[in-house]
Assembly symmetry: C2
């Protein structure tokens, strides 16, 4: 196909993509950036409710275009616009220090909370006041791995489409429904009304995971509320839950970090829901 | 007590402390840096085999000295040298962007591998080729929380005393014996000889955690080998284990990250060892 023409760094397409580094512009455009071949592949494969792929536009360096020729074909087939860009333009749009030459502009993917409820979820992670995008992405990845049916980011949480959250989710953002901007009270009420038991994960919980597992109370539909990485869950949020549960600390550590605690809780639920007593 | 005299930025004490940012100097001096009031408190309380506290020297800003007066007293009582330093000296020695005005110089804490074995450990985490200091520290924290009796860093792993590892361990470095620089074959052989079952954690494992739990094979003394964050465990390390076990992936995620996978594995063992069938 010869040498492709490279887009100018001053092109309106580049300017528009660059602005997506900011939450305000993401929210306005309902678009976000996904970096690297793995995320772009997910964005091509993902279909929204309207049957449209998540990927809208793909910036590629000439080198990446050669290496990922199949992916470019798939992107074009899915209707995405493929733009060849100089290395420094892709690097500039990228949030990482070692960009892989591919950068996708994607449609927002989040699901309406009502749809999450209608699907009758059995395992849900609710992130309340989680502020670090890397943590949010990692918990999303854990929820996906543990087989959660949905993730909910409450209105006071970090932006799901923050580049660091997208990257830390390692594709999981594209795998399961995520509802965003739901007030925690509304999340709890909606889930409870569909028969989901609400557990607040907190180091000062009344019971620990082992108590719950021993009592057999974790085999039904369950939503876990995980709080802020530094200060946990405030009293008013803990009060919304059916139980406040801590991960048992068998040694001398004061606590676990958010992502590892969430992994332990979600996997405890996954096992409790699969084992018949 | 009046205004304390501040140490000069060119003092040999400051120069010696600054050099501890480098692994080569840490290894030579058998000293490392621990930042912030929590770590310093642990370093004061920790006693080595010779009964000596881990803390040797404490740099403090005048402001931190006022805020943590009790801690300075405890440090002095434990025999540590307390040095008042200008804010910028402590900031310069610090690895964090928001130093808390306290920086301790500590003795190495690691335990001889033979001592780990002699204690008859029931739960051990072996880190093989783990290269990211934050990951190593986080796994150490998880191991502590899950009640592990020891952690082993194999000879190809990151330095336990890297400031990022120390910080990510959130004090756990001071809580349980850590043996460093042990070749993985020797670690496996030694543990096996004391009756510990060796499990290699790997996404391509033959069995998954649920299989092991269902089979009741996890209630005895167990050591988990965790591999490199990017490429996992090489075939020759997997071959050393009694079983290669994966965390079950119930959703569409490809994998978990190292720390969350380690948390799930270690907590599964902790529970299996505590529950009587």
């Amino acid at each position: 196909m010869g040498t492709p023409e490279l887009i100018s760094p001053r092109s309106p397409r580049v300017t528009a993509a660059r602005r997506l580094a900011k939450r305000a512009f993401r929210s306005k455009e309902h678009r976000f950036l996904a970096e690297g071949p793995q995320a772009v592949r997910e964005a091509v494969a993902h279909r929204g409710e309207d049957g449209q792929p998540a990927l809208v536009e793909l910036f590629t360096t000439p080198e990446a275009a050669e290496r990922y020729a199949d992916l470019l074909d798939a992107a074009r087939e899915a209707g995405a616009r493929v733009l060849y860009a100089p290395d420094d333009v892709v690097a500039d749009l990228s949030d990482t220090v070692t960009p892989q030459g591919l950068l996708g502009v994607c449609r927002f993917l989040d699901a309406p909370f009502e749809d999450v409820l209608k699907a009758g979820p059995r395992l849900v992670a609710v992130l309340s006041n989680v502020r670090d995008p890397g943590n949010a992405g990692t918990v999303l990845r854990c929820a996906d791995a543990a087989g959660a049916d949905a993730v909910i980011l409450t209105d006071a949480s970090v932006d799901l489409y923050n580049p660091k959250a997208v990257r830390a989710s390692v594709g999981s953002l594209f795998h399961l429904p995520v509802a965003v901007g739901v007030p925690v009270e509304q999340a709890v009420q909606g889930l409870r009304d569909t028969g989901v038991r609400i557990l607040a994960a907190d180091g000062a919980g009344d019971s620990d995971l082992d108590d719950e597992l021993d009592a057999g109370t974790m085999s039904g539909p369950t939503a876990w509320i995980f709080g802020n990485e530094a200060w946990g869950l405030p009293e008013e949020t803990r009060a919304l839950a059916d139980a406040v549960v801590r991960v048992p600390i068998h040694g001398k550590a004061e606590s676990l970090n958010l992502a590892t605690a969430a992994a332990v809780c979600l996997y405890a639920s996954a096992r409790a829901q699969r084992v018949r007593p």
